[in-house]
Symmetry: C2
């Protein structure tokens, strides 16, 4: 069983090496048979080699800032601000570790939408971006 | 500082009482000044009374199943399958506790989208729903 502090350290390193494009160090953090899933598109990538290629080849001069890192035994959840050019995205990522390595990654990229009618009496509007997503 | 196991218990109870529409017990889990944010719509609800009204009034015969609960000190991340009629959604929720109560909730509802071109050589397609979201 992987401990919480070890998980936290590995996930922190995952984002650091990704940010720095240190792909060899990045690849050393995931299992040979790592599974990466994007449930919103139904895409899955299996194996360290393909997952590394996916990251190396990811287009654009993107930058990321980690905004949350919640670790619990062999699992973790993180959120990030991700910018590429003028586009700003929020990425929500879940991790599962096996031993000292990341064995499963699940990524979500929620997008803005128009609030449904009927709750105007309860909500304040216009606070998008105030998720403190830029203030970790 | 709230401990991990206490956080886990409170968040578990949050979803249980929500599922059962036990609104008094549900309301007792959040602070008087609880803040609930939906960054995708820019909506924010402030205060226990309004947040309770929002939940009580939420339309449709919805059902939820918690698929992840990751607790870490006074913070937690959870994911759920949420169905209302024929519609199936995934909800991703972050919690911050103050003492024994939930003081801040941030909700994301990622939606399906078409995979961008250029990574067909790396991905398997058609795995939507295999996030094991129905297998906690």
């Amino acid at each position: 069983m992987t401990g919480t502090e070890q998980t936290r350290a590995v996930v922190r390193l995952y984002f650091e090496t990704m940010s720095e494009r240190e792909w060899d160090d990045f690849g050393a953090l995931v299992t040979e048979d790592v599974v990466y899933e994007m449930p919103q598109t139904g895409e899955r990538i299996t194996g360290r080699e393909k997952y590394l290629a996916f990251n190396r080849e990811y287009p654009g001069d993107w930058r990321l800032t980690v905004t949350r890192l919640i670790a619990d035994g062999a699992t973790a959840a993180a959120s990030m601000n991700f910018t590429v050019g003028d586009e700003e995205l929020v990425g929500l990522v879940y991790f599962e570790l096996r031993g000292e390595l990341i064995a499963r990654i699940t990524d979500f990229w929620p997008e803005p939408y128009v609030p449904p009618a009927g709750r105007e009496h309860l909500v304040e509007l216009g606070v998008t971006g105030l998720d403190r997503l830029s203030l970790p």
